[in-house]
Every structure is written in structure tokens, then in C-alpha cells.
């Protein structure tokens, strides 16, 4: 049982309860205490923000299979340093997480690391092959609440229909789709437009995503199932979701920090760190995504943390794999580029980074409310501390889309079930 901790004078922002006030907060026995009092550790949080620990709906921890790029342990440490107390790890490992045994293994690795809670995501189809449903029920028994073939879409509409229908048998289970039409996206290295043309690179149009978003929403309507859409990159996709929600469909959506901050023009230097899938699109798309996040059409911010080896990313642009790491920069990116300029309130930002994803994931212990008796999964951060995004990172990989930039927003403390896993900006494990 961790020692008691008193957070003194923090600005407590808790979207789940609508709180935004300066207060003292005592944590004792791993839970929030009824009222503040003396503690074994007293932390001065003057000028700092205290919020429910962040929750990432979408990260690739690469273990098993590519432990050179990341492990559950290094990924969790990176997450904790980024202020996350819970992370959903995607199923496209090697072997694929399409069975209970692998789910158990990932859970065990996370437990041993002890720096962050991991919610393993199960594959929808066997081996991510897109042809046969995986044993979803068995994985639900192992604790899975989110299923995704992320990396690709479920190619067969009938199969998606069956999956969405099948999981209605299980409480709180969500199918998360990576929306990409393989034929339209084929060969595309980045967004198709003036920039890709200038760079002489094949592009994929936003319709490659929108076509599948439209399909998936129609199937969600047909089945009444719970659908979550991963990493939206197009304003058009957001608009489709807006209409679907107005209609009452049970759909949620996420967007990455890099899609909120960057755009296709940032690729003019052929910088592979910004080569992502879905790609960074136009300024118009970025505007649309920000508006959708602001009005709740897009529920959550998720990192799509995708570590890759240095030599793979240092290759020629069209040879380099897609992806950017993001656990350590997500909060700062959102604070610097959306909250600071006034496009997003701090409360909504924390809602998008913590409360909403916790709800979608069914991670009841996370996301707030910060109330007596609730597990103490918290983050304390300095929203104005400026830092440069450069190695060394806690992640084993260095492929950050924000490499070389300066961001404002530094995590000071991260607390997992009452234990300070990050204190004064340093990982304790």
C-alpha cells in the first residue's frame, strides 16, 4: 500500500464532476480521501493543474514481436511520463493479439512494470487477416473491452456487420475501426494534394478514409452496435460522424495530436517522422478536426503511439514505415496548440484526454470523477513549462513528429492507484 500524499494548492480540473477550483487533495490507501489532512508526502502544487490521469485509447506497445522498437515496460514508462494512467494497446503485435493467452501475457507484463494500466485491445479477425472472426468472447473473459484490426479496415462489410452484432452480447464492448479503403489508398505515402505532387510522392485522397467511415456508420445503423472510429484525419469524416450522432447512432471517435497540430505542408522536407497513416492532410481538414473536437463530435484525443526503429525511419521516404510516437508529447501538444491559443478550454482538453476515453474504454477506475473513495489515478502538470522535444525519450524509439519543436506543458507527477509513478518529472520505476 503506497504512502499517503497531500497535493497542496493545485488547480483541480475534473470534467466528470465539472470541477475547476484550487484545492488541497489527500490520497490515502490508494484512494482519494474524504478531506485534506497531513500526509507522509506533502507536494506543493501552486500554479500546477491536477486532473484525472490521462487515458490513451490507441497505442502500439510492440510487444510481443518488436521489442526493439518498444516493450510494454518502456511504453508504460513513456505513458506515465506523458501523464497517462491507462493505455489501450493495439493488437497488431507478432503474434497478433487474437486470443486470450496473448491478452493475459500483455496484462502480466503491464502488471510487472507497474507504471501504467494497460487495456489490451483484441483483434477483430484471426491474425488480422480480415476473413474470420477471432474468438471475441474468450477475449472478453480475459478483460478485453475494445476490439480492433487497427492497421487496416475490416475489408468485408458482412464480417463487420457480424462482429458488431455479435458483441452486443457482451456488456460495454466496442468495435474500433481504422478506416482506410485499401484500393484508394494503395501506394499512397502521404495525403494526395498539391504537396504530394510537389514532392513527387504518391498520395492517398481523404476519400480513402471517408468511404469506409460512411460504410461503417451505415453498418452501425444497421446493427445498432457500438462503433468507435480511430484517428480521423479528414474534416469530411468528422462531418459524417456529426450527422450520425445527431441521428442517435452509438458511435464515438478519436483524433491524434499530430492531426490536430500538423498538416501536409510540414512534410515539405521529406521528414519521415511525420509520415503517418492516416496521413497529415490539409489545413482545412485540420480546422474541421479541431472544430469537431471542440463540439464533441470527436470525443477523444488518442496518440496512435507508433514506435519505429531509427534505421527504418532514416530510410528513403517511400521505404520508411508509417507512424510517430506520441505518449510523451500528447498533453503538451494539445495544451500548446489548442488550449493556449484559446481554441479549446482546459476542461474540454482534459475531458478529451481522460474522461471521454475512459468512458469509451469502460475503464471505470480512470478518467475521474476525483471524489472520495475513488482510485487515485491522477496527473499533475505545469501548463506553462516549456521544453524541447528531443531524445532521450522514455520510449525506446525516437520517431516523434514533434521532434525539434518546443512545447509547453510538463507532467510533474503521475499517480497510479495512489503510488507516485512519476515524481518531479522523473519516473520512479
Amino acid at each position: 500500500m503506497p504512502e499517503s500524499v497531500l497535493f497542496r494548492g493545485a488547480r483541480v480540473v475534473d470534467p466528470a464532476s465539472g470541477t475547476d477550483e484550487v484545492a488541497d487533495l489527500l490520497v490515502d490507501g490508494g484512494v482519494i480521501a474524504p478531506s485534506p489532512g497531513p500526509a507522509a508526502t506533502m507536494l506543493d502544487c501552486d500554479g500546477l493543474v491536477l486532473a484525472p490521469g490521462l487515458v490513451d485509447l490507441h497505442a502500439h506497445l510492440r510487444q510481443p514481436g518488436r521489442e526493439d522498437k518498444e516493450t510494454v515496460e518502456s511504453g508504460c514508462r513513456a505513458a506515465a511520463l506523458g501523464g497517462f494512467t491507462a493505455v489501450a494497446s493495439m493488437a497488431n503485435t507478432d503474434p497478433v493479439a487474437d486470443n486470450a493467452a496473448l491478452i493475459h501475457e500483455v496484462l502480466e507484463l503491464a502488471r510487472a512494470a507497474g507504471t501504467c494500466d494497460v487495456f489490451p485491445v483484441g483483434a477483430i479477425t484471426r491474425g488480422l487477416g480480415g476473413e474470420e472472426m477471432a474468438e471475441l468472447g474468450e477475449m472478453v473473459d480475459a478483460g478485453v473491452r475494445l476490439f480492433s484490426d487497427d492497421g487496416r479496415s475490416v475489408p468485408n462489410a458482412r464480417l463487420l456487420r457480424n462482429a458488431l452484432t455479435y458483441v452486443r452480447a457482451f456488456e460495454g464492448v466496442v468495435i474500433a475501426e481504422h478506416c482506410e479503403d485499401a484500393s484508394l489508398a494503395e501506394g499512397g505515402q502521404m495525403h494526395e494534394g498539391l504537396t504530394s505532387s510537389s514532392l513527387g510522392l504518391a498520395g492517398q485522397p481523404r476519400e480513402a478514409e471517408e468511404v469506409v467511415v460512411a460504410r461503417d456508420l451505415a453498418i452501425a445503423r444497421l446493427t445498432g452496435g457500438r462503433l468507435h472510429l480511430c484517428h480521423l484525419s479528414s474534416a469530411g469524416s468528422a462531418e459524417l460522424v456529426r450527422r450520425a450522432k445527431a441521428e442517435g447512432l452509438r458511435v464515438t471517435a478519436e483524433v491524434t495530436p499530430h492531426h490536430l497540430v500538423l498538416s501536409e505542408e510540414d512534410l515539405l522536407t521529406y521528414d519521415t517522422n511525420m509520415k503517418t497513416n492516416p496521413p497529415l492532410r490539409s489545413g482545412e481538414d485540420r480546422r474541421g478536426l479541431r472544430a469537431a473536437l471542440g463540439d464533441g463530435t470527436i470525443d477523444a484525443v488518442a496518440t496512435d503511439h507508433a514506435p519505429h526503429a531509427v534505421e527504418e525511419k532514416e530510410a528513403e521516404f517511400d521505404q520508411a514505415p508509417f507512424g510517430t510516437i506520441g505518449l510523451e508529447t500528447a498533453l503538451a501538444a494539445v495544451l500548446t496548440h489548442l488550449v493556449e491559443p484559446g481554441e479549446l478550454t482546459l476542461a474540454r482538453a482534459i475531458d478529451a484526454l481522460s474522461t471521454a476515453p475512459a468512458r469509451i474504454l469502460g475503464a471505470g477506475d480512470h478518467g475521474g470523477p476525483i471524489a472520495p473513495g475513488r482510485p487515485a489515478n491522477l496527473v499533475v502538470f505545469d501548463s506553462s513549462a516549456e521544453w524541447a522535444v528531443e531524445p532521450p525519450f522514455a520510449s525506446k524509439s525516437r520517431n516523434s513528429a514533434f521532434l525539434g519543436r518546443r512545447l509547453r506543458g510538463r507532467v510533474v507527477h503521475t499517480m497510479l492507484r495512489g503510488e507516485l509513478v512519476v515524481a518531479d518529472g522523473k519516473a520512479q520505476r
Binding site: 504537396t195 510537389s198 514532392l199 513527387g200 517511400d318
Partner: protein
Amino acid sequence: MNRHLLSIHDLSAEEVVRILDTAESFREVGTRVIKKVPALRGRTVVNLFYENSTRTRISFELAAKRLSADVINFSTGGSSVSKGESLKDTALTLQAMGADAIVIRHSSSGAPLTLTRWVRGSVLNAGDGTHEHPTQALLDLYTMRDRLGRLEGLRVAIVGDVLHSRVARSLSFALVKMGAEVTLVGPPTLIPPDAAAWGVQVSHDIGAVLPKLDVCYMLRVQRERQRQQYFPSVREYARLFGLSRERAGLLPDRALVMHPGPMNRGVEIDSDVADLPRAAIEEQVTNGIAVRMSLLFILLGGSGSQEDEQEAGAVRLPEEVPAGA
């Protein structure tokens, strides 16, 4: 001038003129008995050709040798990453060898720019993926200026698979920069959707365009594009867009026919037409050496240690020019 030549956008119109004017002097050197000058004696020029291209490589090799530079040929056939050394490791080796200039041809767009991060010498783009081929564009400008006396106001059509052609890109940008009027001709599937932003016109009717041209520039069309379904058949392509003998008759008398090579005789251009006197195809090859000598001389002939030396930076977007401006 910039230390590297990666794209036509790296050059101002004045710099283009200087390159062409200097090439005149190098063409004169090519007429001497001793076709060599000591200008780049002691320098090392490396030809780093990841794509097979005997013609371009030899052109660069001759250019460097006639400037008395030492030449190293490093050619690999096929994909760079799956076989053997990474581009980075090759670059570091060349850097250690003290290469003053590296001429690189690569199948990945952007590879030359990536190379500049690892080497101190000058990098010359001899063709990267579907991005650019600036030296080809410059030698084509040279040929046009030489045969027709000017560049400004020239009416040029670029015909064929513009979408996949790095030559078409560089040439379009270069011609627009020098005040020529460019029309891209081909099936809609092979014209880049954003071509209007390049400052060019687009047409799908070659017959309508030919009578008003000073230069008809034919691009190679790969049969693979038919397999990728950009057009239904080679036969239909040739019928609609090929430069047959009859079609060539529509051209004004003084108009030039050009082709970057190698030609698909019978697809985009008939054999008869390629062998006509108005076809400047062989001159393009001769002029290539003079233009490449000019480039090597200008890039390596200065120490580059001035405040206007730039690090190779971002690709610049073509300035937005309304079509027909």
C-alpha cells in the same frame, strides 16, 4: 548559388541563364582537339546511380572527366534498401572518401534531399522517383534556346504520362520560370490533378494543340501504366496521343520534336518522326554533356563560403500562377 541542385525550384531565372550561357563555353570545349580543361582538377565526383541509366551516367562521367575531375562510379541495380547497404551508410562512406560532388539517381522521391543531411559535398539530383530531373530540364532548355533562339514566349507542349514523369515536372517548372507557355497533353488519368497550380494549360486533344507549337516534347509511356489501368490499351493510347507521321505534319515548319529518351518507338512516337531533321533528340544528348559540365563547374567552382550559402532545405511549392498567365 545554392550548394546543391535538387530541384528546378532551387534556381532563379538569372541562375538558369547563367548555367545555359556557361554551357555555351563548354560546348566550345567539346569542339576542341583536347576536350578537357583543368578547372576541377583534384576534385572527386561520385556517380551514385541506384537506377540503371547508362546514358545519363555516361553523360555525367564525361562531363566530370572533361573538367579534369576524378570520377567514381557507384551503380547498384534494383532497390537500395532490400539489398545491401542503406543510403545513409553509403553516404557516410562517400563522405569519408572526400567526394566533392555526388550525382545521385534514385527511385525514391526525396532521396537526394535526404542525402544532403549526411554529406558535405554538393549533391546533384540526376532523377529521383517521380519528383524531379533538373539536369534534363536544363539541357532541354539549352537545346530549345539553341535551336529557336529564345525561351520567353515559346509555346511548348509536353505530351504523355505527365503524372509519373519527373522530367515533365522539372521541365514544366523550368519553362514557366523562363516565361514560356506550357500545355500538358494526355489522358485525364495521366495529368496531375493539381497541374493548374503549375502555371500551365491542360489539353486532351493533341490535334488541336500541335499547329500552334514551337516545341512538341514527347514523354515515354510505360506499358505498365496500361496494366495499372490508367488507359485501356496501348493501341488506344497511341491512336489518341501518339505522334504519328500524319500528326507531325500538323506542326509548324520550325517546330522542334523532342524526347528525353529512351523512346518507345511506335507507342508515343513513330520511328519516322523520331528520325526527322526537326527532331532534336540527338542534340539533346550532346548538349547534355555541356550543360552538366556547366553545372559541375558552377557548383564546385566556388568555395561556397558566403553568407548566402544555404543548407539544403525544404522543397518549395511552385508559386501559384493562374493558368494562362
